[in-house]
Symmetry: C2
Subunit: 343 residues, 2 copies
């Protein structure tokens, strides 16, 4: 089994998601700078995966630093660099704060095993992600029935996590439980994570699916082919507003119009109790992602574009949020999930 | 001024819309078979344009037939061939019926100028299309105001007609009237008529616009950037249900959700009084249109797809229909438009 991201003695190995599905290419990141670039270029993407990637970036900084006295400064530099890679996904900041706490706590305790502790925490974050996705899958699969048509969006699969996935983790778990259903994968312009990555995963698992362009979703809903929508998330507010790949909000509106339940699957690390719907930073990415597809120009030169990478789906359009702790229904106040030190 | 389709002494000249925006390539069609292929391959597309193309295909059949006794048979063959090219756009069948009526009437009258009459009718259809688009533009531009954000979809422009366009004709006319507004063009997967053709036309006219991927429409609506949607049509039923490029229906649902008026601009030749919403044939096109973009594969080999080319927007989502006769509002019964021999 190949993991999306894996720590080895000589570096962190990631699957290059920009090369899929043409090529299964592995990138070795030997330092935090290379990891930061991988996140920026979306060689690794998906909220849980970039959380793990950031943690491993910090661990690489620790591992590579041979001067004990400079270790803290170096961790600070790595933290700052990795924090600046992408602005929206909560898991990135969650993982970086968790890593920082480790070295701050170790300092307070006067621990002399700082380096080891930092590396171990990154490995723990990765292992927890695997367990969390499994739990999300198990909790969510109860929502999938024989005969379902399940629409998913972007890639919230193994490639967005360490393995298994969130939204696609639910689909995987339901399939492992031998449920019979069909998946519809939206291609998800501009970067085609649905056509390239979700299709790659579903094909690999032999889960029956059909690919559609994003603008066909309403048509197949009206035709009755879809009776459930399930997507991942990059950030969830305390009251259940969901930030996810641009296009998610439109799907949620369409699902509502067709009385189709709209589910969001995500780990607790995606929840930001302090975020407010109007203060979330929506990343704007390069115009070339819209004017070109896989290197080929599709629009006249000089065409101006908008390229928001995410949108926000208000909580009233979200039928349930599937987490590792269980399936939550509206009205949402997700703060109770964190009361026993869950996060 | 280049026309999308133009009759000349040595053949019918069409702009190759599959080559845009990379190249402004002109194709000469010397016989009806080449014209039929151009329609199938979408070298010419857009409901009004393929109506004109079909009429000119018949005219080519007449022109090329040097045996008077075989002329009727040849016209019948051309009629049948052109009729089979694409199943959805009303204008194609409307133009072919109109052409057939010419030779049937000529026969009844015992006219000996059959060939000339057929060619003249095709030229008349083309000229009428120009006038009709101008009238649509004028009627519709009253709906556009300074400061508007106008979302359009696919290409309902000069390239979808002989010149000027329907939805884009309204935008063109409003711009000619010196109104200040911004256009948002959805790229319109799978064949990217918005990114390739609408962007090409808007850029050529210097009308301010931004290109978005189809899945960004909901986001820009919620952001308040769009306060009007205007699209073309391939078929309109008596009661105002609109068949248009797949994705139109989803846009109409999104517009409704955001209380944004949704306008359809089309000539009377797009209206089929006999069509019922559930009996319209929705063309399914080749899977490669979804799995490949401009020749580049984007999905794993063997990926199954859906590829409906059109969808139907129910009349209750259509705020107004802009025709050459005026702007019609719901509830729709479009039959009155045809009572004085308008069509």
């Amino acid at each position: 089994l190949i993991r999306t991201i894996d720590w080895k003695d000589d570096g962190v190995y990631i699957i290059d998601q920009t090369a899929l599905p043409d090529e299964l290419k592995i990138i070795r990141c030997e330092d935090y700078e290379r990891m930061a670039e991988a996140i920026e270029r979306m060689e690794i993407r998906g909220a849980p995966a970039i959380g793990v990637a950031a943690a491993m970036g910090i661990a690489l900084a620790a591992k590579n630093c041979n001067n004990e006295r400079e270790l803290l400064e170096e961790l600070g530099r790595a933290y700052k660099r990795l924090r600046s890679t992408r602005p929206t996904a909560r898991n990135l900041f969650w993982a970086l704060e968790r890593m920082r706490k480790v070295w701050e706590d170790a300092l307070k305790e006067g621990s002399n095993a700082l380096k080891e502790k930092v590396i171990n925490e990154a490995l723990a974050i990765a292992e927890e992600d695997v367990a969390v996705c499994r739990a999300i899958g198990k909790n969510g699969s109860a929502l999938i029935s024989d005969g379902d048509g399940v629409l998913t969006y972007c890639n919230a699969g193994a490639l967005a996590c360490v393995e298994h996935g969130t939204a696609l983790g639910v689909i995987r778990s339901a399939y492992e439980e031998d449920k019979k259903f069909v998946v519809y994968s939206c291609e998800t312009r501009p970067l085609l994570q649905g056509a390239r990555l979700t299709a790659f995963e579903l094909k690999h698992e032999r889960i029956p699916f059909k690919l559609i362009t994003d603008n066909m979703a309403a048509y197949i809903m009206k035709k009755g082919l879809v009776n459930k929508v399930i997507v991942g998330a990059d950030l969830i507010t305390r009251h259940g507003d969901v930030v996810n790949k641009v296009g998610t909000y439109g799907l949620a509106v369409l699902a509502k119009h067709h009385s189709i339940p709209f589910y969001v699957a995500a780990p607790l690390s995606t929840i930001d109790l302090n975020a407010r719907p109007d203060s979330v930073i929506i990343e704007e990415r390069a115009p070339s992602e819209v004017t070109h597809i896989r290197g080929v120009r599709i629009a006249p030169e000089g065409t101006e574009v908008l390229n928001p990478a995410f949108d926000l789906t208000p909580n009233h359009l979200v039928s349930a949020i599937i987490t590792e702790k269980g399936v939550l229904c509206p009205p949402y106040d997700l703060s109770f999930l964190f009361r026993q030190g869950n996060n």
